[in-house]
């Protein structure tokens, strides 16, 4: 069989950079034999905007809106990491109320990101309806964001020492209506999704072992799907996460189905967190007095946050001026995607779409 292969000319299929299911401009060159993938090579850089070089010519305050534009689906978690790093440098701790507002906003953002993921994942497998049921729920979250932060997606809501505006009573009413509706909607979506066809397409596919998780530095639902308990809210508690009790859902086998299961349970966990946080919301100021001109003292600052895709770290090196000397992002999708070249060979082309979907990447976040 070996010498036969050389005669036959290899058949390369280019998945991307313009392809309906690469969630952005990612290109995977698949060497294919019929439907079976022999080897794959991921090509990055189509959405590279050189933001780390740009950051060296922008002040800390001007970099704030850029933080929403990496992972536009969970933008406030990015703002949180950036603001956290600066607060650590300046030694400012936001008031209690601001911390709880941040937890509420962050968890709502995580839910919105998982909603988009579930919809897009099922869209890749060919089912259109779950996408719209789930987007209806996501639409309500975006309305809540517009109510409080002023923008639906690129919110620019966090600032050093707290948040720009306070929570309005209208927002609290919207949250209650949303929480009443969401548990029932998720059950309906689950019943619709988990048909025999879905289970056949997704179970026992794209196994990620525990050893792979450590070797490739995978974090977030991709790692938790394989049973490794890694969640920055628990391992490196920041803000007021210690005061809120929530569990971390874990998978067992680490196949696409477990990653799907983990994310669906995470949506419910985030809803519980929001419920508790709204209950515990204290009165008082929503922002600390922050300096008008931000100058970080010299030194290195690193702040890690649990974004919807995994551990997100902001590394700031400042030389005392108003502009960062070096700004680096430890991006979860960058590490999570690096395992794709190990997962794809041996599967069919339809599986490539399912595996890539289950790893849940956002390309502008990877290419920076």
């Amino acid at each position: 069989m070996e010498e036969m292969k050389d005669i036959r000319q290899d058949f390369y299929v280019n998945m991307g950079p313009q392809h309906p299911s690469t969630h952005g401009v990612l290109r995977i060159v698949l060497r294919v034999e019929g439907e079976r993938v022999i080897s794959s090579e991921t090509v990055l850089g189509y959405a590279h905007r050189g933001v780390e070089k740009m950051a060296e010519s922008k002040t800390y305050v001007q970099m704030m809106p850029v933080m929403d534009r990496f992972d536009y689906v969970s933008s406030m978690l990015y703002e949180w990491a950036y603001v956290g790093a600066m607060e650590r440098a300046l030694g400012i701790t936001p008031p209690e109320r601001a911390e709880f507002i941040r937890v509420i906003m962050g968890e709502l953002n995580r839910m919105a990101s998982h909603f988009l993921w579930v919809g897009a994942f099922l869209l890749d497998l060919g089912a259109f309806t779950p996408f719209l049921w789930v987007f209806d729920a996501r639409e309500r979250i975006l309305d809540m964001f517009e109510e409080v932060t002023g923008q639906r997606m690129t919110n620019n809501y966090f600032k050093i020492g707290g948040v720009h505006y306070d929570i309005t009573p209208e927002f609290l009413k919207m949250v209650d209506d949303f929480l009443k509706m969401i548990y029932e909607r998720m059950q309906d979506v689950e019943v619709l999704i988990e048909s025999i066809i879905f289970l056949e397409r997704v179970k026992d596919l794209g196994f990620i072992t525990k050893e792979d998780v450590f070797n490739y530095g995978l974090t977030g639902p991709v790692a938790r799907g394989s049973g490794v308990l890694v969640d920055t809210r628990k391992t490196e508690p920041y803000s007021v996460y210690e005061k809120i009790n929530f569990e971390i859902p874990l998978g067992t086998k680490g196949d696409c189905y477990d990653r799907y299961r983990v994310r669906m349970q995470e949506i419910l966990q985030s809803a519980k967190i929001v419920e508790q946080a709204v209950g515990m919301l204290p009165e008082g100021p929503y922002a600390e007095k922050a300096p008008k001109v931000v100058k970080l003292p010299e030194g290195e600052y690193y702040f890690a946050v649990e974004s919807a895709r995994g551990l997100l770290g902001v590394y700031l090196l400042s030389d005392g001026s108003t502009k960062p000397y070096r700004f680096k992002l430890r991006v979860p999708s960058f590490a999570n995607l690096s395992i794709i070249d190990k997962l794809l060979p041996g599967n069919k082309i339809s599986d490539v779409v399912a595996i890539l979907g289950s790893v849940d990447i956002v390309v502008p976040e990877i290419d920076r």
């Binding site: 650590r88 070797n215 290195e300 690193y302 770290g313 190990k342």
Partner: protein
Amino acid sequence: MGVVSILENLNLEKVDKEYSKSGFCHAFLLKDKSEIREVAKRFKEDGYYLETIVGYDKGEGVRLVYIFNRMDKVHRTGIYIDVAYFEEVDTVSDIFSSGIWCESEVYDLLGNTFKGHPSLKRLLTPEGLQGYPLLKSWKEED
């Protein structure tokens, strides 16, 4: 086990870091660059993972910060090595596979090559880009 005990009898100089101030639990400056593979092996055995590699242009050379961390409890440790511009560094990609892309990115943006790297090529910048953007000496030829 404590980080300090893993890394004993290695040519290291401890940099004092306070977690609540900088986010790093420990930080070490590795004087002998060739020991980076040994450091990576020890971290791997003890259950750490390579979080990321940060590289920046220090003015007279490039400093690479290897950040290792644990998954169960935060033990963020920064290992600094100072290299000259475009100098070759030993790769850790065969120990930590996440190093493959991290090192490719450092090569792409800073120019330092890595000995033993399986596929060292530009990762993020378009093909045919001359020069290495993150160096302070990089001029945009328009």
